[in-house]
Amino acid sequence: MVAETRAQARRIVAVDEEAARCGLFPGLALADARARLPDLAVAEADAAADHALLRALAAFAERWTPMVAPAGRRGFLIDATGCAHLFGGEAALLADVHARIGGLGFSVQCALAGTPRAARALARWRPGQIVPAGGEEAAVRDLPVIALGLDAETRSSLSRLGLDRIAALLAQPRAALAARFGDTLLTRLDEITGRRDAPISPLRPMPLHVAERRFADPMADPGTALAVLADLARELCRLLERQGKGVRGLEAGFFRSDGQVRRLQTATARPTRDAAHLAHLFRERLASLADPLDPGFGFDVIRLAVTACDDMPEVQPRLDGPAEADDLAPLVDVLATRFGADRVMRFAARDSHVPEAAARTLPAQREAAGRPAAPWPAAAPAGLPPERPLTLFARPEPVETLAEVPDGPPLRFRWRRVLHEVVHAEGPERLAPEWWAEGVAALSRDYFRVEDQAGLRFWLYREGVYGRETARPGWFVHGLFA
């Protein structure tokens, strides 16, 4: 039995069968229950855990259809439109839901109706019922008005008027009801009687295309699972070929027979219909998992869903056309799948004189989405060194310096505990902060390219203009030249 503290009183929230037989019911004060049965076993209610459990169950329910939405505190809705025949009809589907969720150790009440509200009300008050199309009004007539899910105030005024059944409400003139109780009551009434349909908002976005395999016996071999995925990928690619589209994002769902669901995503840099490539991506994805895919007692459904796709017209490859061998996209996909999309990068030129801002990298997979086309600086002309360092420190490293004059280059400096004698220096190159973009009072920097006695080259800067911005300018190594 489960209890919680509500309105300064400990009240019962839920009871098991045994407690129900003893006459306990939800809403009863815990003190009253204790008076009747002194040795009650009471557990504290945990709304968050209940919610999480319900979400997990809803994820499990996606094995029937991706249109699943949690409803209220202890239920969920499945939109079975157009998919009941896959399970042998509506009655068989309902029986399957009952058996599988019941098999996990829950007591189940379910019903099937034309609108979400009617189905919810029937599952609560007339479990097991399957309402034929258009039969909602007849089915809900003798349900109590609580089934409408109205607020407490409306409920109590309805009961004061003696309108305790839906049939009684239906007998009233609509205009009078609207005037007395507002539009909400009529909307709810229409929803429950099937005159108005309210779509459910599914837990997760609907995939664009889905292919799946169901197994009569749970399947526990990861190798077979991969083979099945490859098969499903081929199926989806054939489907997309007819529409002239290519896959950009995929999600594989592994439904375990004990209710656990594991989902793996993968993405591609550009639309593809290469099923072997997609299967290879999933192989990489499985290999890179920190906690490997655990089949437990086996999977009984494996589903592959296309979460994103793009136009991909069929192009005849030409011998003298752009070489596909130079196409890095498949390699980028594999590496991004294994190491993460944010670890496979490309340079993106940006029109900024602040070195950190100009040195941006973008995930290589996103590059196809259109890159800002700022030009790269030209190669250093003959006889001159490059203007920008080959490597840049994410955080400039402070150095101790000795300079001849406050605004000149340093004579020597100590970086990472090593003293470097400056032999050549060029500068300063003053870079002012982008005050219009940053909004913070950064100091301007005077950059110097310096070379030490060994030929090592550094990109040093002095932060702040001496005398105007700061009295003690700090020195930093920002990058290294080749």
Binding site: F347, A348, R388, Q453
Partner: protein, 274 residues
């Protein structure tokens, strides 16, 4: 079974191999010329389809080796995959797009992979060498990870031989151990050509070839010309015509507009420099 697409790709590769001007064939081996006198010792250039190791001569600062890899990448054609361990980025700094461009390496040719550890670097390198697209794969683990042994380098060398790509293994903060590399280099920075105190010249590297299965060893000091994308022997006494007057750091930017081809860019560079 080969698909028409694969057949076409193979055909294209063999045509490219026949046509390629930079791939000299000596004894059936394609290679990337680095310029004389290096090519003499290397029997034509850095051999493609093989593994080459690059160590760094300086303790702590590995930019010379990184720079050498960037210069080799600038000489090579096609896409480059550069795999770095995170530690390398925090020790040597992250690769800078504008800096690569300044050395003559088009940053758009680069795909950067960041791996957490040495194992990740090796895995990514093997995967990259398995594909035909990248013609140069640079793997940069940091220090001396245990997984990087003779077997691991042999695997890399085999993969490179299968696809014909050039594999560069950068070994910052590491000492040479037996490996399957065809050549082994120790690269260090050298003082640049400059007569004056306040002026830098183009990058100069001392290339020490300490292992070479194809020919003699050697030690060269080479200057990199970013604009012409070539190595040239570095002469300590700089020739007068090459010396330039001191230039302010704010040099006029090259005219921008249409993307320049190599020859045109060289001409522009001359104009600015002279």
């Amino acid at each position: 079974m080969t698909t028409p697409r694969e057949t076409l790709a193979a055909l294209r590769r063999s045509v490219a191999a026949m046509e390629s001007m930079d791939g000299l064939h000596q004894g059936g081996r394609a290679c990337l010329p680095l310029g004389e006198p290096l090519d003499g010792a290397l029997a034509g250039g850095l051999a493609c389809g093989a593994l080459h190791e690059v160590f760094c001569g300086h303790r702590g600062v590995a930019t010379a080796a990184v720079g050498f890899a960037a210069m080799v990448a600038a000489l090579a054609r096609g896409p480059v995959v550069w795999i770095r361990q995170d530690m390398a980025a925090s020790e040597t700094g992250a690769l800078h797009g504008a800096g690569c461009a300044g050395l003559g390496l088009d940053p758009d040719r680069l795909v950067l992979v960041q791996a957490r550890d040495g194992t990740g670097v090796l895995r990514a390198a093997e995967e990259a060498l398995r594909h035909h697209a990248p013609r140069l794969v640079v793997a940069e683990p940091w220090g001396e990870p245990e997984v990087l042994d003779l077997t691991a380098t042999r695997r890399l060398a085999l993969r490179a031989a299968e696809t014909g790509a050039l594999a560069l293994l950068l070994r910052p903060a590491a000492a040479p151990v037996p490996s399957a590399a065809l050549t082994r280099w120790v690269v260090s920075a050298a003082p640049s050509a400059s007569g004056r105190a306040h002026e830098l010249g183009p990058p100069v590297l001392t290339l020490d070839l300490i292992r070479n299965r194809l020919g003699p060893l050697g030690r060269w000091t080479m200057e990199w010309d970013a604009d012409a994308r070539s190595f040239a022997p570095f002469l300590r006494a700089a020739t007068p015509h090459r010396r330039l007057p001191a230039v302010p750091v704010h040099r006029p930017p090259p005219p921008r507009g249409e993307p320049l081809l190599g020859e045109e860019r060289a001409a522009t560079g001359q104009r600015i420099a002279g």
